[in-house]
């Protein structure tokens, strides 16, 4: 018996080989490190004090002071928690109503110009949210927002502020909601697409009117497919930082992400790391709760996928007299969320922050651009952005692919735990991730703090993106393809390199692109780990905005958009090959 076990064990190591064990071991260690090390640090720091020392500086000790201060403060219960709840629920609701209407119009009706609408709706998904936030501020601040100026002029109102006020809870909710739409729209479109059209047709032939069908069949059948994106949007709203910072802070609306940032950047004192960590913990728990709910719903949604006939797309509902209201609805959203913000930014970059008038066209100035292009900090930010986004996307893709191989194909003990850890990363709000990274690298004496490398390491925590994608890719890859290579004499590492990775190429590319976009847009981590040296584009943009150098902020934003537009056309061609017939 023992001899057999021995033989099997020998055979197994022989299977993978020393090189294989090393490669896999390194990948697993990296994956565990990227996620658990910062979280462990966060947890410990919450129990370290006193507040004027770093959590693990000599002299610091274990304490419950942080909790006593944070949870003894009534602001938490009277402001932060209620505000966060209202903010999250409100913006998810706004986003859902808009996104579902748009998805339904584009997927199921004969709305004219669906292709153009589709592209314009998803366009903001790859633009850093800071850009949108700034553009909306230009448009809707009560005193000088251009839309307000225009309304006051048009109606001859004698006031100096309003009528619209983005610096309010409703304003913040609408902005956050609008910024969530593209993402929700994509997921809801997918849900609508995968629904068997015969479900609705069976209702019609049972004698139900279209309206009855919609409420009794379409919505309930879609429910899991709808709830999952809703939960995910709630998670994103909870961790959202850009809009609360740019809109919420001047409006004195305190949500939890901002509270953490406050503790780190108090107006007067030194940063209080322990307290920030203590604030973070319950919100981390809430976010993870949402994550598990999401996971549960996704499984449920999969059980709803039943046999589908080889169907054609169902006939589209003719909009009839609803055609114009539908077009106006979609155009209004696109106008406010994509087109007008883009136009405003271009304008500000060329004409400064003066609303357009008849005479202003003559005052065009390229100063903002020329200053920018002669400023080495701008080039450094461009370099940093690409370096950090590209390198972290590469590392995460590689590590994620190997980790998913371990999870799917090996019988390594603890592979379930590994899968769980990588999955957790979706549920960690980026403010908390940023805080945890800050604590970790300020403590670890490896000299990366304040360099771009700390950003590369920090961005690597988003492992779940690849493990999800490459796991799906790996599951479609029949195990016999690997076995055939091994039978042909290929060592494990050779098999991985020459068979598995090439065959997984499409999912690897997809995950790289996605991670690159996420890294390109990233703002929160970069702001929290900010130093003079490691600024990226989204942060430099915010810095100009903070210093009221509006034309330069707008110029950076314009350049980002100009760079991003071709990417989205490439991505659409590449990532969405399904029919989008005209």
């Amino acid at each position: 018996m023992a001899a057999t076990a021995q033989a099997v064990r020998v055979h197994r190591t022989g299977d993978i080989g020393i090189s294989g064990v090393l490669v896999l071991g390194a990948a697993v260690a990296a994956a565990v490190y990227f996620i658990s090390a910062p979280l462990a640090m966060l947890l410990f720091s919450a129990f370290r004090g006193p507040e004027d020392l770093l959590p693990f500086e000599t002299g610091a000790a274990w304490t419950l002071d942080n909790f006593a201060q944070v949870y003894g403060d009534t602001v938490l219960y009277s402001e932060i928690i209620p505000n966060t709840l209202v903010f999250v629920a409100g913006s998810v609701l706004v986003a859902f109503v808009i996104a579902f209407t748009l998805a339904w119009l584009i997927e199921r009706t004969d709305l004219p110009g669906r292709n153009v609408f589709f592209t314009l709706i998803i366009f903001p998904i790859i633009v850093p949210t800071v850009i949108l936030a700034i553009a909306w501020m230009f448009m809707f601040t009560p005193n000088s927002g251009w839309v307000n100026l225009a309304i006051r002029a048009a109606f001859g109102l004698e006031r100096t502020a309003g009528p619209l006020n983005i610096l309010s809870m409703p304003g913040l909710i609408l902005a956050q909601g609008a910024s969530l739409v593209p993402f929700m729209f994509l997921l809801l479109t997918a849900a609508l697409k995968t629904m068997n059209p015969a479900f609705e047709e069976a209702s019609a032939t049972s004698g139900a009117s279209p309206l009855t069908t919609f409420f009794k069949v379409t919505l309930p059948v879609l429910r899991p497919g709808i709830l999952a994106p809703v939960i995910l949007a709630a998670l994103i709203a909870l961790e959202s930082f850009e809009l609360p910072l740019i809109i919420g802070l001047p409006a004195r609306i305190n949500v939890f992400a901002i509270q953490i940032f406050f503790e780190l950047n108090p107006d007067t004192d030194l940063p209080v790391y322990g307290r920030a960590a203590a604030v973070a913990l319950p919100f981390l728990a809430a976010a993870l709760g949402l994550l598990f709910l999401y996971n549960h719903l996704i499984r449920r949604a999969e059980s709803y996928v039943t046999v589908t006939g080889k169907g054609y797309r169902p006939a589209r509902y003719p909009l009839g007299r609803w055609k114009w209201p539908a077009i106006i609805f979609a155009s209004t959203y696109i106008g406010l969320a994509a087109v007008i913000p883009a136009a405003v930014l271009v304008w500000v970059s060329l004409f400064g922050f003066n609303p357009p008038t008849v005479g202003s066209l003559g005052k065009v100035s390229f100063d903002a651009y020329s200053e920018l292009l002669s400023d080495f900090r701008f080039y450094r930010a461009v370099g940093n952005t690409f370096l950090v986004a590209g390198l972290s996307a590469f590392i995460v893709t590689l590590v994620g692919a190997l980790v998913s191989w371990v999870v799917v194909r090996s019988n390594m003990p603890g592979r379930k735990v590994l899968d769980f850890i990588s999955f957790l990363s979706i549920g960690i709000p980026s403010v908390i991730a940023g805080l945890a990274m800050l604590l970790l690298y300020i403590t670890l004496p490896i000299g990366v703090f304040g360099t771009v490398w700390v950003l590369v390491l920090a961005y690597c925590y988003r492992l779940a993106v690849t493990t999800r994608i490459s796991r799906a890719g790996l599951m479609q890859l029949h195990q016999e393809l690997e076995e055939a290579s091994r039978v042909a004499g290929g060592q494990w590492l050779t098999t991985i390199r020459r068979v598995v990775l090439p065959l997984m190429a499409p999912s690897l590319v997809a995950s790289f692109v996605l991670l690159f976009i996420i890294g390109f847009r990233e703002f929160t981590l970069a702001l929290i780990l900010l130093s003079e040296e490691n600024m990226v584009l989204s942060v430099i943009l915010f810095r100009f905005f903070e210093n009221t150098e509006m034309d330069k902020a707008a110029a950076v934003a314009t350049l980002i958009v100009v760079f991003v537009v071709p990417v989205i056309f490439a991505a659409r061609r590449f990532a969405l090959p399904q029919e989008r017939e005209g």
Partner: protein, 364 residues
Amino acid sequence: MLRVDRLSKSFATPDGMTQAVKGIGFEVAEGEFYTLVGPSGCGKTTTLRCIAGLERPSGGAITIADVTVDEPDAGVHVPSHLRDIGMVFQSYAIWPHLNVFENVAYPLRVTKPAPVKSEIEQRVMDSLQLVGMGDLARRSATKLSGGQQQRVALARALVRKPKLLLLDEPLSNLDAKLREQMRVELEEMVARVGLTTIYVTHDQAEALSMSDRVAVMSEGLIAQEGSPRDVYARPSTQFVASFLGVANVLTGIVGGPDTVVLDDGAGRLSVPLSNGFETGARIRVVVRPEDIEIRADGADGADNCIAGRLERVVFEGAQSECFIRAKDYRIRVRVHQATDAREGDDIWLRILPDRCVVFHQDGN
């Protein structure tokens, strides 16, 4: 009961318009079981979906129970839910958010005014009993096997006793054995309710065994319509003949009154020929495997016999398929009892004259 008149339907596709249905017409009487059969892509589903009101015809007219429900030229289109129909979809379309009972009750619940609760209960259970699913009324719809889904879909289509029952390949998602069993059961259930039924299938065995009348479709048109026996025995084109079953095709020319001379000197047949065939015309003789006998002896030209060599015998249990080489032809013969003939034997084939169907060279 149902009249379809010069129905046509075109679809806009990326490479222009395709005409899926090219002007077909048929009438179905009250209580009749009418089948549309044909190869994939011939327009069966499209026709059925037009009748259901799920697709708007491009031309022609559809009348259900003396009400014109579609006539594009007159701007008439009655939407699906206002037509009194029941339909079983190829994918069954059992709603996953409702249990078996609620799936079947749905058509009653959405009628206005809805029947009272006890009546709904009664009719749903009757319907479920009919399809043999009475015990599973409370089962979740996501936990049904293919055959069970099919029964529930049928119960749902029958529950409000519609004027017209539409079935689109209801058996094609079942495995072979279940399919055969359900074929008989389905026919019996439908017969018991006595509904006018339009059945769509690409399976000739289903079409022939279940229907009162069949229409064989090809490329958007009806190639032939009639009772299953008629269409099988007297196909009007070679396409219909070979679609409905295995057919041996022998080519030759008309050698005189009721005489066919086969090519390559394979022999002569005496076959009743109608007036349309003139002496010297090239023709095709189609004969089914079961309409040929194998004999140990015979004589050339006599008694409709031709000589051949038995190349291969495939034993299939209740019957055997024999492949016989006669000059250039490879002829398939089905024999029911064990034959003494062995592979390699020289034998004679006797072709039953009145079972032959003769076509012109072009297949018509």
